[in-house]
């Protein structure tokens, strides 16, 4: 009997593909957020509001994942930017290979932003690196404020937590302060934004956050270029 110490990540093949994409994005100064939430928290509507407010000539593209249907891609395509649906055919998350395939012949160098909308699920997407810059986790006020404690793996990896549907706060029992405290319990340095995609509240801050992130990607690309 021989014992071989392997000591490699189980998802090392996924991580390798994600790493290749991350490098390509970085070389070209592209900012790539990966949107994660439970089903119905408002990923697609937030993306719609974001696309709507982008300049018509913005260099951006969207990949949107669902188990079935291309409903989201149809919604997102109305804003004139390239959109592709990834139908996972049963899989509860996107992985790096699906992203690589979906990108196809799209030229990364022609983009400033690549938005990825994951499958609605707060568990599995956390395990799969897609090469994104940030995981953006959306929590809506119609859910429980204890979601961060129930799904710590996802919230602990969030580059930004967006609390969505804040226009509904007067009608639901969601405790906003408690929700933020719960986010900080699993992720002490988490950035949190409050947004309502329906009324537009908080969207200015969200777009400013995106712009800052993109600018820092551009600055790092300059570092690449000058060695």
């Amino acid at each position: 009997m021989t014992r071989v110490d392997v000591k490699q990540k189980v998802l090392s093949e996924n991580d390798r593909l994600a790493g290749t994409l991350r490098e390509k994005l970085a070389e070209n100064g592209v900012y790539c957020p990966n949107f994660i939430s439970s089903p119905g928290a408002g990923k697609t509507l937030l993306l719609e509001r974001t696309l709507e407010r982008m300049p018509r000539d913005a260099r951006l593209a969207v990949l949107t994942g669902d188990i079935q249907t291309d409903n989201d891609a149809k919604r997102l395509a109305r804003y004139g930017f390239p959109v592709r649906q990834i139908s996972t055919g049963g899989s509860c998350h996107l992985d790096a290979r699906m992203v690589e395939r979906a990108l196809g012949e799209w030229t990364i160098a022609s983009l400033d932003y690549l938005f990825i909308e994951n499958v609605g699920n707060l568990v599995c997407p956390a395990s799969y690196d897609l090469g994104e810059n940030d995981k953006i986790v959306i929590l809506s006020v119609t859910e429980g404020e204890d979601k961060p404690l129930k799904y710590p793996a996802t919230f602990a990896r969030a580059g930004l937590v967006i609390i969505n549907k804040i226009d509904l706060l007067p009608y639901v029992s969601f405790d906003l302060e408690q929700a933020k405290e719960n986010v900080r319990k699993v992720h002490p340095s988490a950035e949190i934004l409050e947004v309502s995609s329906s009324t537009g509240d908080g969207l200015t801050d969200w777009l400013a956050w995106l712009d800052t992130k993109h600018k820092s990607c551009q600055a790092r690309r300059m570092d690449f270029a000058t060695g």
Partner: protein
């Protein structure tokens, strides 16, 4: 929910190790799974057994080392398991502590029977 996919990756990786040594067979697979990895060990074990039984050969044994979420205090060096998400150091009260384990999803070792 995604344990079937994870189990497939585990088996593939273990069989890759066996393939490097001609004629060898996987007897045992060792995994390290963190509390915050997003993977349920028992569900993974179930999926692993289903998949490993599929090819006729005696299925390999699966050994899982489960790692609690642990943080380290940079002030006093204390390493402690997180209870109820309390990240403050229970020894010196330090408010900012850093995770040292709990995210793992690793293939630790493979035991092979060689001809």
């Amino acid at each position: 929910m995604h344990e079937m996919g994870i189990a497939t990756s585990v088996l593939d990786a273990a069989r890759n190790e066996a393939a490097k040594r001609l004629g060898s067979r996987v007897l045992k697979v060792g995994l390290r799974i963190g509390e915050w990895s997003g993977v349920d060990p028992e569900s993974l074990r179930f999926c692993f057994e289903v998949l490993a039984n599929g090819d006729g050969a005696p299925p390999p044994e699966l050994e899982i080392e489960f790692l609690k979420r642990q943080n380290r205090c940079p002030i006093c060096g204390n390493v402690f398991a997180l209870e109820s998400f309390q990240i403050e150091c229970p020894r010196c009260g330090g408010a900012v502590t850093e995770p040292v384990s709990g995210d793992e999803l690793e293939l630790a070792f493979v035991e092979l029977e060689e001809p």
